[in-house]
Amino acid sequence: MAMSSENEHPVKAFGWAARDSSGHLSPFKFSRRATQEKDVTFKVLYCGICHSDLHNVKNEWGITSYPVIPGHEIVGVVTEVGAKVTKFKVGDKVGVGCMVGSCRSCANCKDNLENYCPKMILTYGTKYYDGTITHGGYSDIMVLDEHFGIKIPDNLPLDGSALILCAGITVYSPLKYYGLDKAGMHLGVVGLGGLGHMAVKFAKAMGLKVTVISTSPNKKKEAMEHLGADEFLVSRNTEEMQFAMDTMDGIIDTVSAVHSLLPLIGLLKNNGKLVMVGAPEKPLELPIMPLLLGRKIVGGSNIGGIKETQEMIDFAAKHNIVADIEVIPMDYVNTAMERLSKADVKYRFVIDIANSLKPI
């Protein structure tokens, strides 16, 4: 007989979970495994609300198994370390992103690309090595294989660094992989949400010229004055878009809704690269002629490996890159999810777990 979430492990834990596809979250008692020899146990301090959390709680991708405790942008403080742990000690800060496990032996894992391991274990909603389902960061404690823990640099604020662990690496990795990280290049960023605003900050720190492409003209002031974007294009303004054709070395497209690729491909110079990091659930139309005539590409990218995530957060610390967030108490989470679905947040909600998650 399958054990209940509360009994399957020896350590009591508490969080908020969605129980059905309404996506409504509510208090939930469950349990965590005992600290194994390579594990660190930590008290969760903050957890960012990623748009994936919303997709998952509402089963929008059709893969959710309830109850689900979301949260994969987690920062905490270590309370216990296993006997063979070398990376962390009690009292250290630790971050966890989207993954908590992988096979550790395939070519991808050996290449520090755990995110592309076919047996990658997600921070929530996936089967762990012991057959139990992983539960995410909207909870009081976590137990983590140290390999998947990220050291948080001292000069980064804890609440602002949480979401770098997903949103940050999701845009940093493709900037590096697709070679869109050289000073003087011109990068377009489509969509100005959690991912988009991080892309602007990273790209500016790398010395690129950045143009934000958005459907919302009211984001222009913020984008240019606060985030440091050099230009702003309203995608529905055909004249502006026309004028900007053939000017960009690359574009990071963070938009998850179905949208048209043709105008974006037109913005690229020859050999330009359109990189998708948002994942619309339906296929998009790909016009072939413009791709051919300019030798352009459309590519994808998915988070990043652990080594690169550490590199990314160290880069953020060096350049004082901090996410723009709205800190909320745990019991605001359902309202936050509603606002998130309307993109009504600058630019990520972060749950103040330590101060607001109270066991029932």
Binding site: A279, P290, L292, V298
Partner: protein, 359 residues
């Protein structure tokens, strides 16, 4: 008043042209410009029949300016050279491909990427710098700026070498650009026509494992025994397609008809590259999840610059690569076009212009 084709230039020329969107070709008297200081005059010996010729003859792309003399895979001999010509002498064997002009000043031209110049002048159905229409290789002679003429290697057969000037460079250029040249890696070639069969040969010459991906099971024996492919995958065989999931480093997609990309993307490994060189007339559906989850990309490529085209010809000469052709007489061209529309050719028609083009 606009001059007629046979009067706009001083040198008489003769070829076969399409006059309307039936695409039917028939004799046309026209004219070529005087050989300028940087020009080379070429007697055309052979000209390949590219699928683009068919598209343009029938105005399938909507921009044909009739009458059109197609043909952009021609080989011939130099009959005259201008006073500033440095690269060629009378009597030499040369080739002319898809472009006969460009601006020569933009970044692309400066980087030997004349094919990406915004002012590229195509061998036919374009306007030259003097405002007159360009006419292609289904004709007796052509006058070309030496920059756009290729030296034709001695050990390449004329008939088999002609199609390389479009089909060859169309697959060679992306193979180089997208890094599909590491020995031991696995290349998929989707579509086995003019482009596809040359891609197989080049892939083998680069030391790749090559799998042909096709909708026609009957092409298998040919692909493996004659072209040297290592394996053959029929797209309608679900078990075989499943077994091949995640096995290819790259795929060259030569298919021009609208077709699904998802099965091809699924054949790619992590970081795999799907490069389209065919020209479907409608957009294709691109599923984004496979791109994101496998860090894969879809890219395009369009012929190649002059320097690279020369490099390609020399590469083919070195490795004994020529197209598999069916040589035809000029007056067979309309039948050839019909057969081409049904993919009934192994794998390119080549017109024996010199022997069969008569007024």
């Amino acid at each position: 008043m606009a001059k007629s084709p046979d009067q706009e230039h001083p040198c008489k020329a003769f070829g076969w042209a399409a006059r309307d969107k039936s695409g039917l070709l028939s004799p046309l008297c026209f004219s070529r410009r005087e050989n300028g200081d940087e020009d080379v005059t070429i007697k055309i010996l052979f000209c390949g029949v590219c699928h683009s010729d068919l598209h343009v003859a029938k105005n399938e792309w909507g921009f044909t300016n009739y009458p059109v003399v197609p043909g952009h895979e021609m080989v011939g001999t130099v009959m005259k050279v201008g006073s500033d010509v440095k690269k060629f002498k009378v009597g030499e064997r040369v080739g002319v491909g898809v472009i006969v002009g460009s601006c020569k000043k933009c970044e692309s031209c400066q980087q030997d990427l004349e094919n990406y110049c915004p002012q590229t002048i195509f061998t036919y159905n374009s306007h030259y710098t003097d405002g007159t229409k360009t006419y292609g290789g289904y004709s007796d002679m052509i006058v070309v700026d030496e920059r756009y003429v290729l030296r034709f290697p001695d050990n390449l057969p004329l008939e088999g070498g002609a199609p390389l000037l479009c089909a060859g460079i169309t697959v060679y250029s992306p193979m180089k650009y997208y890094g599909m040249t590491e020995p031991g890696k696995h290349l998929g070639v989707a579509g086995l026509g003019g482009l596809g069969h040359v891609a197989v040969k080049m892939g083998k010459a680069f030391g790749l494992k090559v799998t042909v991906i096709s909708s026609s099971p009957k092409k298998e024996t040919e692909a493996i025994e004659r072209l040297g492919a290592d394996s053959f995958l029929v797209t309608s065989d679900p078990a075989k397609m499943k077994a091949a999931l995640g096995t290819m480093d790259y795929i060259i997609d030569t298919v021009s008809a609208v077709h699904p990309l998802l099965p091809l993307l699924s054949l790619l490994k992590l970081n795999g590259k799907l490069v389209t060189v065919g020209l479907p007339d409608k957009p294709l559906e691109l599923p984004i999840f496979p791109l994101v989850l496998g860090r894969k990309l879809v890219g395009g490529s369009d012929i190649g610059g002059m320097k690279e085209t020369q490099e390609m010809l020399d590469f083919c000469a070195k490795h004994g690569i020529a197209a598999d052709v069916e040589v035809i007489q000029m007056d067979y061209i309309n039948t050839a076009m019909e057969r081409l529309a049904k993919s009934d050719v192994r794998y390119r028609f080549v017109i024996d212009v010199a022997s069969s083009l008569s007024q």
